[in-house]
Symmetry: C3
């Protein structure tokens, strides 16, 4: 990963392109990003988490990205920015641009006659594009990805390998969908009748906004009657399940392994921690934060942080705690009896 | 979604085909289903959840499906049925029939020479059918789906895009498997020896019954020695994991993100809520209901509803609650000490 | 499953090949493994779990595998081994060898011009191998599997159908990856800026060791800057999510549905139960055991068994318990008040 020669981008130029303040030698050449610990000549590192401040003194990076409050803590050439992590993201995107495949359709891909694929799009090997589907400008469809009939994929989208879009799915511009994600499968709808199940046709669509990112093996079901909606700039990690007719508000981020049952609406700018589980038919207000591994069984009307996890304990201790937990009703009643007895004594 | 012209099916005909009682104008033309709120001319809506009864008065649907007890609450043309949701399912299936692909094998599909594909089956682009596999009448194999050697897929099955059936998997008739599902992978079996793991060959099969539905990205492992069995009419949502040698009884429905460890038997007509986790080697009796997010670590002998979730709380309050939870053993002991002290005083 | 004729391997030969002690008739022919209950002529069964000891007397197996302490409990021909389950694994591998496909590249596979595929490797239908990728000797790449640019896949690896390796992934020797697994997708990294998200480029790799097994639909993200590392002999079940920059120590086994957030290090020889959830940036010491469904939110410094699950209860009882749980802070305060009152009385 070391530069073959003196290559890279002058720090001054990175400052200009990222809108950060330059401090120190603007001519130092930067060709990659690295952590404070791993960085050496040619690398730029960043300090965002105060926990790692001590590493600023020992890093061998050629430059660093820091907040104004940390600027005096290092004599290295630096970019000073109010949000060092965001500046790092911009610098990394400049130094490590994503590989853009050559436009065109791989000969092994199967494109329906009535599909419209933009000339600037890149359709990889073994991909399948259905009837009347539309693929936008510069969009990338990865190897083995299946775009169903009547889907539309916006400009500059990236569908990685082996994504599935069921028929009638709409994906906005600049959205990234990772491998194994399945968008638009039937929701879990069936009517019980005489001890058997009758399938309820799922006829709604899945509408994915602009600037969304959907993680690997995440699933989002189509609406039962109306649509399932993922608004703009929603970020979904891996292995998330979103049921039919959910709506996820703009700018909400959801960590891995989260499940959201059908017909729940999550507001804008929410943050849902990993493995949280949210029941169906709920309303979660804008700006809500749900902690990891927390089950949400009621609507949330007031923004704030909500948590509900059992603490992990050494197993032997947990056995006692679990045993008392099972008897909590009795504990509460006995406590109340004692209080009454005390009160009676006093009176 | 509005009809271009006066098209559709007379309400009278829907009543006859669904076995529902007609009330009001049987000539009104119906061409789609919709929710009470979204419905307008040409649409039929239904009322099943009493929570939405108030919407019956304001809907602009051309007809509604209601229970006998709600029939007098609306003057609209209507279908009256004891189970309005089941009747809705039938009506929706009539008005929105699933798209059946043209029979035949797409030229890009790869079919082993010894496979038997029924002439009425439809094998989509990039699908792979293994040696000696049998595909039943009218079965659909989606794009990129892989049917392993020696598998059998029953009549009228639908395997959506990118399903994988490992070798020797059997799928009954009319079963639907959604994209990304993996049926028959090796179970998690290994012997520990000297701090290392030795793989235990997984040689059982996976047997899927008739009328089963399996959700997107759900995984069902093959048996270790015997078979893993999913009985008839079992309904599995997305992202479920079922370990080797499990047996899931007929008519049981399991919601998304559930995990069931190996060798557990779940009875018939059970309902398992989303993200519930069930340990291995358990027996869950017929008719059991497990609530969402509940961990089941012991066999269940008596049907009923079982729940075990920590309530979600505002984080600050949760911190206190969690802290007391950790000390529950001591709380119980101190309560007992107080009771004894009180008893001693009394005596 | 019955032998067509007297075929099989003499028990004596199995004893020699597995390093087990032979007791009884070494000429009995064995052609398959079975459970104690299901076994009949030609089958060998094993007893490892003392719970099943009673079945030793009634089995119709031709031979059994037992521990020395159980050897006297049956007169059947037998293999005696300190670790009967490990011996069973070896015997099963001999009697039921995995099907090895014919070397070569299926004509429908797409291999980049600059890729290197060993002549002894088997590349199945519809597979895609990227630029500069290297596929080792005797490696198997399943139908529809996508190996990205610059990946390397070691000798004797098995990638089942529809696996995805993102670019720059390295897989060691003899590693098995099951269908639907996605290795090397972008981690969940983004910077918040003015209520919107800015993607942080994920530029690290995913390094998978030797003798690893990765279950169906499991996802492992590439590193953000450094690498995500799965060390040798790690065993991962299905539907596991491992975040960017995690390191999983050698010989650690992780059961299904586990989620591990980014930058967490799990030690060697750990065992993580199904559906356990482990937060990010933690250190879990070697030899730790985490119970199923347990959330781990703090680093673990001492090996041992850790558990944190809410017991499942009949729903009606749970309602009371949950209600008291919500009020635990008040319960603790009231208990303390009673103790103080008692103390005051005494003094």
């Amino acid at each position: 990963m070391s530069p073959p020669d003196a290559v890279g981008i002058p720090l001054r130029q990175l400052a200009e392109r990222c809108g950060a303040e330059l401090s120190g030698d603007g001519d130092v050449l930067i060709d990659r990003v690295a952590t404070l610990d791993a960085a050496d000549k040619g690398a730029i590192a960043f300090l965002s988490n105060p926990k790692y401040r001590g590493r600023l003194g020992s890093t061998r990076a050629s430059a660093v990205i820091v907040a104004p409050s940390d600027a005096s803590a290092t004599a290295l050439p630096k970019l000073i920015a109010a949000n060092p992590y965001a500046t790092y993201a911009r610098v990394a995107a400049i130094l490590h641009p994503a590989h853009a495949p050559t436009p065109g359709v791989h000969p092994s891909a199967v494109i329906a006659a009535s599909a419209h694929v933009s000339a600037s799009a890149a359709i990889a090997a073994q991909a399948v594009i259905g009837e009347r589907a539309a693929i936008g400008e510069r969009a990338q469809v990865g190897p083995g990805t299946v775009v169903g009939d009547d889907c539309s994929v916006g400009h500059d989208c990236v569908l990685h390998a082996r994504v599935v879009l069921y028929a009638h799915t709409r994906v906005g511009a600049r959205t990234i969908i990772h491998s194994g994600a399945v968008i638009g499968a039937d929701g879990f709808g069936m009517a019980e009748e005489g001890g058997r199940w009758l399938k309820v046709p799922q006829i709604g669509r899945t509408l994915i906004g602009d600037d969304v990112e959907i993680g690997a093996n995440t699933t989002i079901d189509r609406g039962a009657i109306g649509d399932t909606v993922i608004e703009d700039d929603v970020k979904l990690d891996n292995q998330i399940q979103i049921g039919h007719n959910c709506r996820i508000g703009a700018h909400t981020a959801i960590a891995g392994c989260v499940g959201i049952a059908g017909s729940t609406t999550i507001g804008r700018n929410c943050k849902i921690g990993g493995a949280a589980m949210i029941s169906g038919h709920l309303e979660i207000v804008d700006g809500t934060i749900v902690s990891a591994s927390t089950g949400v069984f009621d609507s949330i009307q007031f923004p704030g942080v909500y948590t509900g996890t059992f603490p992990a304990l050494p197993h032997r201790e947990w056995r006692h705690v679990a045993s008392v937990t099972r008897r909590l009703r009795s504990i509460a009643e006995r406590l109340r009896a004692l209080e009454r007895a005390g009160h009676n004594e006093e009176t």
